[in-house]
């Protein structure tokens, strides 16, 4: 087991390295001189030369790459080209809202999708199943921002149940915090409910065909007992995987949702950085999200290993 864990953890390193290389390449090899972009069109040749010197842009590309990787390894992500603040500080400032939104979304998605998937599997082929499946295709075909705007329109504007937009940290009271988080959470959770419910259904149906389910039924286990004690337990591994995948997929949804609901999180930070061409911030946020992706995948892999000893080889 230990060998398996070590091997998997080590296998994440080349992926992270590749992510860094790709992010570096995207920002350096794309058309346009970073110095010109940063200094603006009115900069003089000397100013550009100074800037290239100070940013190390005149050194060989490979050397630049390794210098940059060294900085990252020490936790130094540089300073924002726009505000001059440390990138780490900017990111930490915006982390709270994003974490809050992601956590509530994934909790809601799992809480709704698990029963839906189980019900659909139970009623396989009947109208309830079809309804859930149709809803599921709909759920990931409607853009999150459309769901968001429709919800704002109905629940904030016409019914007046929630504030239209904005975010208040938990420190300003649970009411202010929660009331502003409800709509974005529900809007963002739609595609993940759809995705998770679908996977739960498929896997429960698959497990229900196994011999041990027939055995459980034959020995007089109730349908409910069969489902919770046998079917769900054995369908757990793929379900855990898809929850992991959903968390990694949340990231793109978060960017959009924060923008619709005016939430000052990491998604908004990256958008602001893109509009201002603040490359150091873009690099850092992309690296952060990619690292989260790699680690969630790692966690899912390790969970697989715990659940199913065959995978350890």
């Amino acid at each position: 087991m230990l060998g398996f864990v070590v091997k998997r953890v080590l296998s994440a390193i080349p992926v992270l390295f590749m992510v860094a290389v790709i992010v570096f390449m995207v920002l350096r090899l794309s058309p346009g001189d970073p110095a010109v972009m940063i200094a603006g069109p009115n900069a003089t040749t000397e100013q550009l030369q100074d800037l290239r010197e100070s940013m190390g842009l005149n050194r060989p590309l490979l050397e630049q790459l390794f210098l940059w990787l060294g900085d990252i390894a020490r936790g130094d992500f540089g300073v924002s080209l726009v505000s001059g603040k440390a990138v780490t500080e900017l990111v930490l400032d915006r982390l709270g809202p994003t974490i809050a939104l992601s956590l509530t979304t994934i909790l809601l998605a799992v809480a709704v999708a698990l029963p839906l998937g189980v019900i659909a599997a139970w009623q396989q082929g009947r109208w309830l199943d079809r309804l859930v499946m149709a809803g599921s295709v709909l759920g990931f075909s409607v853009p999150v921002f459309i769901i968001g705007y429709v919800m704002i329109l109905i629940f904030a504007r016409y019914l007046g149940w929630f504030p239209v937009q904005g975010y208040k940290p938990l420190s300003e009271g649970i009411g202010a915090f929660a009331s502003r988080l409800v709509l974005p959470t529900v809007a963002l959770s739609f595609p993940y409910i759809a995705l998770i419910a679908r996977i739960v259904r498929t896997n429960v149906i698959e497990v229900m065909g196994e011999d041990y389910i027939r055995t459980a039924r034959a020995k007089g286990q109730t349908e409910r007992g069969v489902m919770t004690g046998h079917a769900l337990r054995n369908a757990a591994v793929p379900i855990v995987t898809i929850i992991g995948v959903s968390i990694t997929m949340l990231i793109s949804g978060v960017v959009v949702t924060e923008s619709v609901f005016n939430i000052p999180g990491l998604g908004r930070l990256v958008l602001e950085a893109v509009l201002a061409r603040d490359y150091t911030v873009i690099q850092a946020v992309i690296l952060l999200f990619s690292t989260i992706y790699v680690f969630i995948n790692l966690a899912v892999d390790l969970l697989y290993g715990f659940f199913d000893p065959r995978i350890r080889y």
Partner: protein, 305 residues
């Protein structure tokens, strides 16, 4: 293949030849279309897709006016005989923009499929057939997969400038690793098949081997994957444009319309809802067709998802 041929089949096994010939003919496009259209949701989705394609092609003949023409005196009008769905904040005709928007969305969808599938086949063959390339290229693909597609696309568009081409490339790049992985796994799977080994013994060259004996196995899964990529590309384009990192702002695309409508959302929500419904309808229909194709062409995958 109707009901009258089916019962006679077991009785006359020796006379199966004409039947098989027919089956071979049937394995082509006609059979696929028949398979796709075998259920009502699939028929409706196919009809919607056909309608949207027709709308895109016939856009100039559908009672539209110039979708980019500004008319500041006619800002934010309601529906009228002159402007069927009213006008936006620049006085442009919303109906015409919705109709012309289909062109951008379909072009982005199709373009992305072509780029992603071509690049995916290239890297998939490279890594599946030539083992020396496998480690480096696949690590690279793993890295690419780890980067959130939307963020990568936003960054690419922001850096290289917002044109239809950069948007296409930016949307395609994050899709490549999945195609490459699939092609690679198919190629690796057939490497040890007897017919591949036989061809190898006969001295078949690498190119011919890949083209004649290996790639045909990828057609069915690629068709399924391509359909999903088409849908997801349309979705991604609308998200990118909505966030202001998409096709040039004056282009009449559904995403741009929604971006323009954001400020006026509480006053005139239909500015977002009309294009929003079009995006949803298109993506939904294409996804449904993808599900049908997957169930028909790739039963193994259908079981998994």
């Amino acid at each position: 293949m109707t009901s009258d041929t089916a019962p006679s089949k077991p009785a006359q096994t020796e006379l199966d030849l004409p039947d098989m010939a027919e089956a071979r003919n049937d394995s082509g496009v006609a059979a696929m279309i028949r398979a796709i259209l075998s259920s009502w949701p699939a028929r409706i989705s196919a009809a919607v897709v056909v309608l949207i394609v027709a709308m895109a092609i016939l856009a100039p003949f559908l009672g539209t006016v110039d979708p980019v023409q500004l008319d500041p005196s006619q800002r934010l009008q309601g529906s009228s005989a002159a402007h069927w769905l009213g006008t936006d904040s620049y006085g442009r005709d919303v109906y015409s923009r919705v109709v012309y928007g289909a062109r951008i969305s379909l072009a982005v969808g199709a373009g992305t499929v072509v780029i992603a599938v071509a690049a995916g086949i290239f890297f998939g063959v490279l890594t599946g057939y030539f083992r020396w390339a496998d480690i480096i290229v696949m690590r690279f693909m793993d890295g690419l997969m780890a980067i959130p597609g939307i963020l990568l696309a936003i960054a690419l568009v922001a850096i290289s400038g917002a044109t239809l081409t950069t948007v296409l490339i930016a949307i395609s790049i994050p899709e490549i690793p999945r195609v490459a992985r699939m092609v690679r796994s198919v190629i690796m799977g057939v490497r040890s098949e007897p017919y591949v080994e036989a061809a190898s013994v006969l001295g078949t060259g690498a190119l011919k081997m890949v083209w004649r004996h290996m790639l045909p196995n990828t057609v069915a899964p690629l068709l399924v994957q391509g359909t999903y990529i088409f849908a997801s590309a349309i979705m991604t384009e609308s998200i990118l444009s909505f966030l202001g990192a998409g096709v040039p702002p004056e282009t009449p695309s559904w995403g741009n319309m929604m971006a323009d409508g954001r400020v006026y959302f509480l006053v005139k929500p239909e500015l977002i809802l009309y294009p929003g419904v079009m995006v949803s309808l298109t993506v939904l229909s294409v996804n449904m067709l993808g599900d049908v194709l997957r169930d028909r062409l790739d039963p193994r995958m259908a079981k998994r998802l």
